[in-house]
Chain length 152, copies 2
DNA sequence: TTCCATGCAAACACTTTGCACCGTG
DNA sequence: CACGGTGCAAAGTGTTTGCATGGAA
């Protein structure tokens, strides 16, 4: 993996650094993580890295195509490795849970947008808000209110 | 319309104020507007209103069901009146344009999510990023880079 | 006359930037 | 040893909050 990373970076004239390796590892390990969570994880596995480095590195890793991001809540971009199978997200406003769905489920929808509007949807970036159950947030204490506002 | 607003507010034990009227008018007039744009518009049609009042009022208007919001760019909630026909949005990363699409186009997609995951999608809140053309941003100078990052 | 709403300013959370030093290639 | 990367601290955005005053019902 390190060599894959090194190669991708080199192709863009960029360098492999321990921080970039650590941050990529963190993203791969965490699944869907915010910059803050990435930082927290890196700090457990190793010495400190600066928050601004995390931001800059996540951008670089996305540029070279190794990670992607989606907006699972109003103020929280989350990053995940592209090696995961292609998926998009459903976010429940009641219980706060996030469901990953294979992009093939949205293929028909994407085809329709293509026909009607000549629009090529970026499915892996898609996040659909809604409700998966009637339970209230207290059932999932870890997931505070994602994107409220919408006349829930 | 003022009476509709007054009624909705009263039902929640809230009051009709000139600011609330002005802000609702602005949202209806602008179509899709950010809090800043709403403020700017209110200021052209009338005396000043405070930004924090705009935020608080947009929240209230959404709570009573008169407006809704969607995320057309990374850090930019835009509000629109619910009286518009139900629609969701396509945002092109190349030209920056926003396309409104009737929610019935996504009905099949929503049905699939319901079957597979028991998930009820909030279609009017949906925003799909992608590309509608090969043109670069310079073609639409008014629309700066919506949600970049995603390995464009 | 009672609360709700507003304005103002400060506080906030998140992200970006400038700059000097460090380290990869 | 050149140039890209990092850390640190400061500056930005966009949004929220506390509090005293103002106004709708």
């Amino acid at each position: 993996m390190r060599e894959e990373l090194r190669a991708r970076l080199r192709d863009s004239g960029l360098r492999l650094t321990p921080q970039r390796e650590l941050i990529l590892d963190a993203v791969q390990h965490l699944g869907h993580a915010t910059p803050d969570e990435v930082l927290a994880h890196v700090r457990t596995t190793s010495s400190a890295v600066n928050l601004s480095t995390v931001y800059r590195t996540l951008e670089v890793l996305e540029d070279v195509g190794l990670i992607r991001h989606a907006h699972l809540a109003d103020r929280a971009p989350t990053y995940h490795a592209v090696t995961d199978h292609e998926h998009f997200h459903l976010v429940c406003r009641n219980c706060g849970r996030t469901i990953s769905v294979d992009t093939h489920v949205a293929r028909g929808f994407a085809a329709r947008l293509r026909e009607l509007h000549g629009f090529e949807a970026d499915l892996p970036h898609l996040t659909v808000f809604g409700t998966c159950c009637a339970a209230d947030p207290s059932d999932h204490p870890d997931h505070p209110d994602p994107d409220p506002g919408s006349h829930a």
